[in-house]
Every structure is written in structure tokens, then in C-alpha cells.
Amino acid sequence: MPHPYENTEGLERHPLSRPRTLPRNVAVAIFAVVAAIELHCLLFMAYSGIDFERYHESAAFQSFRDSLGPFSLLLLTVVRVAFVPFPISPLPLAIVLLGAWITLRRGDLQPALLALLASSVLVLIEPILVYLIF
């Protein structure tokens, strides 16, 4: 017995009431990009609440900020939307956009999903790399 979504026998008699569809790889690619952006904002917002001053002296922050210079802007920038700061990092977004583009071109679902996973892992470890290791 087909699934109700696949069973379109009755609907095919009425062309105007046929449900609109879209290709699965397009849907997965768009969803991967949207989910990566949302996870990105959420994790950085959760990271911003951690009291990192407790672990590091403020002089270490100053020296880190001075040593990186313009590279810190590439690594972590803050976009303010209606007084709410959204820290944005271009590298995980670039990864998920690349995966979505490969999915759109080739039709496989795996690149976008793997890029979403890799982007999530990178978003998760990036502030730790920035604040604790450097």
C-alpha cells in the first residue's frame, strides 16, 4: 500500500488540485543551509554566555586580539540585527554552502548532509579553538 503522500490517484484527475512538489535534493540543500545558519546563531549565543574570563586572564584576550589582527575578523565577526548580536563565522557557512551546491549539481543527498554535520562540528569547536587553545 503506498504512502498517502505517494498515492496521488484521486488527485491526478484534478490537475488544479495536484499538490505542488519540488525535487528532494533541492529541499535537502535548502534545509541544510537554513539549519546550519540557525545552529550557528544558537551555538554562538550559547557560547557567549560562558564566562571565559574565569579561565583566562583578560591580558591573554588582549594579546590574542592584537596578534590576530584582521584575521580575527575573518574568523569571528559579530552582526547586530535589531540590537541582538549574531556572531557569524564564514568558514562553517562556506562549508555548508559548498555541500549544498554539490547536492544541487549532482543530485546526491550526501554532500549537503555531510557538510551540515561538518559545519556543526566546526561551529562547536571553533570558539574553543579561539578562546582556549590560541
Partner: protein, 113 residues
Amino acid sequence: MASIRADNTRGQIPFRLFLSTLITTSVSWALVFTLVLLLALGCSDTPDYERGGRICRHYQHGGFLALALLSFGTQVVGSVLALINTRVIYLVYGFCLALLVALVYGLVLPLTS
């Protein structure tokens, strides 16, 4: 396996399923984001741990990072399963599990830490 992958890769999904997946994921994100944002605003003027209480201390130790990851990750996995298998029930499972994880984590862990 190859036939399953081919069936899953090619094919059309209903536009309503895609739209409901995006809406459900955004609603789940907004819930967790509001929770974390309210905690960040509430705990911003309590530099000492005693005034903020247990929840602020747990928050400032990074416990709500795990909440955001677990709750929203559950929702994302459910949405991806719904998109791949064209089943709305995975969306419902994912949203209910995300709410359950947020409730359990947000209530139980700060009070027991």
C-alpha cells in the same frame, strides 16, 4: 541499498512537507534561542555566582550549550529523516523529543548541579 539510495535521492517531495519542515525547525530554534537569550540577559548583571543562583552558574559554565546542541540537534535529525523518507511522523517525533530534551535539561540539570 543502492535501490534505496536511488529511491531516496531521486524523486519529488510535497512542497507542504518541505515548508512544514522549515517552520518546525525554525520554531524549535526560536524556543531554544529565546531560552538561551533570556538566560544571557538575566545573568549578564550577576558577575558573582551567588546572586545568580544555580541556573546562572550552570549557564555560565556552559551547560546550556549542551542543551542547545541536544535539543536543536534532535529537531534537525528528525527534519532530515522526514525529508529523506517523506514521512511527516519523523517531524512530529523530532519536535516532541526536542521539547522533551529542553524541558528535562532545563529543569532537572540546573537544579541538581
